[in-house]
Every structure is written in C-alpha cells, then in structure tokens.
C-alpha cells in the first residue's frame, strides 16, 4: 500500500517537474529564436515574418532530441530510488 502511494504521488510530483521543465525549455528556445531574429534583421518591422521564423524554430525544436531528454525527469529518480533500495538492503 505504501509502495502504491509512493508510485502515485511520486508520479504526480515528477509530472509537475516534467511539465515545468518542458515549458521552461521551450520558453528559453523561443527567446533565443526571437533574439536571433532581432540580430539578423535589426531594422525589420515585419512581425508576420518574425512570427513565422519563431514558429518554424519551435517546430524544429519539438522534432529535436532535446524535449525527449526531459523525459529523463522520470527515469533518473526511478533509477536513484532503485539504487538506494539495492544499496541499503544488501549486506
């Protein structure tokens, strides 16, 4: 029962972390894209072109390996817990 509770609440907590990290990572990428656009087109006021550039960058980001790496948020703590269980309970 305690194990089920650990799994359920652990999953919820890790999901909160996963979502925040995913949002953060995408936000950092978006900011980087906006800055890159501003650097390449300092005088441009064409907001549509800028939005298209950023949107394409975000699509590229979604397809890259980086957002998939955030799933490690679930994997690493599980491995650590398994490691602690093993180390604590072997003589």
């Amino acid at each position: 029962m305690a194990f089920v509770r650990l799994v359920v609440f652990g999953f919820l907590a890790l999901s909160v972390i996963y979502l925040s990290v995913a949002v953060y990572s995408r936000s950092v990428r978006r900011e980087k894209l906006e800055k890159a656009w501003a650097e390449d087109n300092p005088a441009s006021t064409d907001m549509a072109a800028r939005d298209a550039f950023v949107a394409k960058g975000i699509v590229d980001y979604n397809a890259s390996y980086r957002p998939k790496l955030i799933a490690l948020v679930y994997v690493v703590p599980t491995v650590i817990v398994a490691g602690i269980v093993y180390i604590t309970n072997t003589n």
Partner: protein, 225 residues
Amino acid sequence: MLRLKIAFRVLVFVTFGLFLHYVLPQHDIVRIGSTEIIRTDFSGFNRIFYAQADSGGVEQPTRDLRLINTDKKKTFLLGFVARDTTEVMVYRNEDTGWIWPPYFKFDSSDLQAESSSVARGDSWAVLTHYGWRVRWASIYPNAIAVRIVDIPDVRIIPWFNIFFFVFLVVGIAFLRAMWMQFRERAVDPLMDTAGHHYDEASAGMAKRRGRVRRWLDTWRAKDKR
C-alpha cells in the same frame, strides 16, 4: 522591518538546517556492546521521531523496538573533527519502508543480526545513521548500515551528502532560472498590460470625477469653490 526580515531568514535557514541534520546520513565510529529489543509505547510527541511498523507488518499503538547499544567516538563539528574520548550511544533499528525518510530500508532484522555478530567481537565499526538522540523525549537515531573497520581512525568521505548538496545548489539555481524566465516571459507582459488598463481606468475615473465635482461645485457658494 529589516531586522524582522533578517530574523525571519535566519529562522528559515536554521529550521532547514536542522531538518537536513536530522534526515541526512551521518557516520559514527562505534564499538557495539549489545543489541536488545524493548517494548515501546509512543507518546503523541515522540511518535513522529519513529518510523512505522516493519514494512510487511501492520501498525499497532505499541510495538517492539530493536536497539543497538554502543560506545561511540566523540567528534566535533558534525563528525569532521575526531576526538579521543568516547560516549554511550543507543541507536534504534527500524524499517523506513517506502515512506519518509527515503532510505528505503527493509532489512532491520538483517542489520540487527549483523550488529549482534559485531557485538560478539571487540572490533570497531562504522555505523551509518540518521536522526538524533534526545534523552528526555526517548528519541533514538535510526541505524542504517554497519561495517567493521580495522582501526578507529578511518577516514570517511560522505559521498551521499556531497552529491546531495551539489544537487541542492544546482536545483536551487535551476528553479531560480525557471522563475526568472517565467517572470520575464509571462508575468511582466501581463503586468504591463494590467498596468496600462489600470492607468486608463484611473484616468477615466478622474475625468468622470472631475465632471461630478464640477457639477457639485455649482451648488456651492462662489468663494468656497
């Protein structure tokens, strides 16, 4: 106000520090004298300083408690500075199970057997534990692991605590970065818009008030306007 702020920060820091001091593992160099089991009736106060029943068992108001009686090498500065003197220290030996604190210890009986066999000889051992010994409240630190050492002057490197604090610093820095990004990208633009709306609203209000005030003033005597 500044003093209150500082006092509050010190309080938070000390509470957090005490919490970590209770929960993180520490290593003692001990000579185990004996092991024993006592029946324990918890009070409402000291109950939270004990774990729950063995992980396969069921919780009862009263239960047996495994104890390890030792002579412990005294130290200064949280165990960083060794001393020649020893003191008596008694550890409890309970399963932490799947719950708090996350040691995931299920092998209390095995540890008790190990401690008994160490107690038969006269050798020194490194005993890993967490928790405090509080005599007036009958609170014991919980033993996690024991291993025999040849000499009492062994050098112990607290790897877990090193990694823990590195991770804590990295985690806090990351959280800070996330919060700043959130503020910069989500809250600040919102606040700008809200501030703009507020300015417009208050300007409109002032205009309307001015009109009402002017109308009211027409009823007053000319020299009191």
